[in-house]
Symmetry: C2
Subunit: 337 residues, 2 copies
Amino acid sequence: MKIAVIPGDGIGVEVTAEALKVLRKLVPDVETTEYDLGAKRYNETGELLPEAELDEIRRHDAILLGAIGDPRLVAPGILERGLLLNMRFLLDHHVNLRPARTYPGSKSPLAAAPDIDFVVVREGTEGPYTGNGGSIRVGTPQEVATEVSVNTWFGAERVVRYAYELARTRRKHLTLIHKTNVLSNAGRIWTRAMETVGAEYPDVDTAYCHIDAATIYMVTDPERFDVIVTDNLFGDIITDLAGAVTGGIGLAASGNIDASGKSPSMFEPVHGSAPDIAGQGVADPTAAILSAAMLLRHLGREEDAARVERAVEADLKSRGGAPIVTTEVGDRIAAAV
Amino acid sequence: MKIAVIPGDGIGVEVTAEALKVLRKLVPDVETTEYDLGAKRYNETGELLPEAELDEIRRHDAILLGAIGDPRLVAPGILERGLLLNMRFLLDHHVNLRPARTYPGSKSPLAAAPDIDFVVVREGTEGPYTGNGGSIRVGTPQEVATEVSVNTWFGAERVVRYAYELARTRRKHLTLIHKTNVLSNAGRIWTRAMETVGAEYPDVDTAYCHIDAATIYMVTDPERFDVIVTDNLFGDIITDLAGAVTGGIGLAASGNIDASGKSPSMFEPVHGSAPDIAGQGVADPTAAILSAAMLLRHLGREEDAARVERAVEADLKSRGGAPIVTTEVGDRIAAAV
Ligand SMILES: CC(C)[C@H](C(=O)O)[C@@H](O)C(=O)O
Ligand SMILES: CC(C)[C@H](C(=O)O)[C@@H](O)C(=O)O
């Protein structure tokens, strides 16, 4: 197993170390190559994602990423476009897989203490994320800027299919989230994909909900969701909200997956680099460790993945209100798997 | 005072009757003209917003709208584009004003029972709502669809200015919600508007937050917000979530405002026509009544507006868990103002 590791910035470095600790315990002969990409590197060298490095990264089975970004070093947008999104696009990470679940002891901000267990399949290579659009008369009273959401049947069909397959392994319920009543051109593609692909999955029930209404359900009735499929931007929004209602994005893991298997898929916590708490050893590495579990599952090691998840579950249960020590969480989970 | 009334569909008709009950109590000589627009009309005649009717509507001081839509009669998208959005665009309703607050006794789904009181200033005539974009090769495996978000300095500057003015009358804190790290063309305009206009409001503190992070704050720390300014789509999403965390969009009122005063502004509950409970007399008319209060404030009747709000507050407090009878809520508030 050859893993490319991109610890990145801030707490990314700290939580990745713990994820690797757990990974090495389960796969002692794992080969890892570390890539120094992110805010520090860009700030020092101006380099974002050199082609030679990307070519090397491609020759791994999967990628483990910590977190990228440091607003003190790099203006917003540069690392996102030049590194994070670039990687998603160049490696065709069209399935952005984001499970959301509560654990025994989860600290959901919802009074109902819901029992949440759903997975968001977020499209990762289209929508308003393509970088299409532009500006004219910048800085003047006549400035006009466009952002073009690009949507293709090719792009929607494959993630909708992935979502139906996933639903089949779960509670067999798939919800499309979009805004088809306003974004009707893009909506037409997504709706047709749900219907056309759905004909092959008569055992999977479907539902539709507008993104605005979806945020309401997320706080009033999140248990209704099993698998959600949605576009790139709506997926960005709804998964942060999902992370929040399950008790904090400190637990939210994600996979950026090329379902064709041509490029290595990338696994990362949903949280950012949190420069405010970096270097203090207090970041929760659980999301990074759960991302490593997703990586294991993706590489066919279902049993190992389940072990990590069980260990995380037990750890969360035993934690109580004790403050988090990053390395100790990693130690406990590595010992338990 | 001349008010154009568009009761619309479903519970829109029922809640508008109660809002008018309260309005007539405070302004006995109010002149109202009713316009039959919405799903039923479209289904019977194919008409959405005939020019002659819009011209008539223009000659009123303000518009009171109930709710539009009935999925059993009209496919999604038609009334939205042809009636609701058309009205916002043709009447230049660039400020979509949506207050969010908890009342004593509010049933927030959040365990912290927060004390929420903020206002969202949502841009109403630009962004991905313009209907720009289109589709090619519809229905084929080569279908491509675009949705173009159009953003202008003209459009952003005026709502940002409105928001600063509003913040000055409140707790003097203004948050921009956007996704500037990905939608950087549009983001550049909004960021510059915040800075340029902000120079004239040194007494107003500002903050910025990405739309994804904003959904987290909305459930973990909604009290941080005072005035929010945001684009059309992000505003759509965040205001539904705001309605949910304050205890249900049955209480959320809104104004579609032409701040130049050239066109009449329109006031409406945020909720929809709810065909599932229509005709049963159980819809909560509070959001419609609070929309009438916003209408009164807009027309300079601050004292009347405050009376309605106080009456609503008292009514909510006294309700307990009793089921809602639409006409009785209207009667109680009309009696109290
Ligand atoms: C950092 C940013 C570009 C990214 C996104 O918007 O996709 C992040 O919010 C995420 O959800 O992974
Ligand atoms: C009905 C729809 C077009 C509308 C919108 O998206 O603006 C609604 O959701 C709203 O928030 O007023």
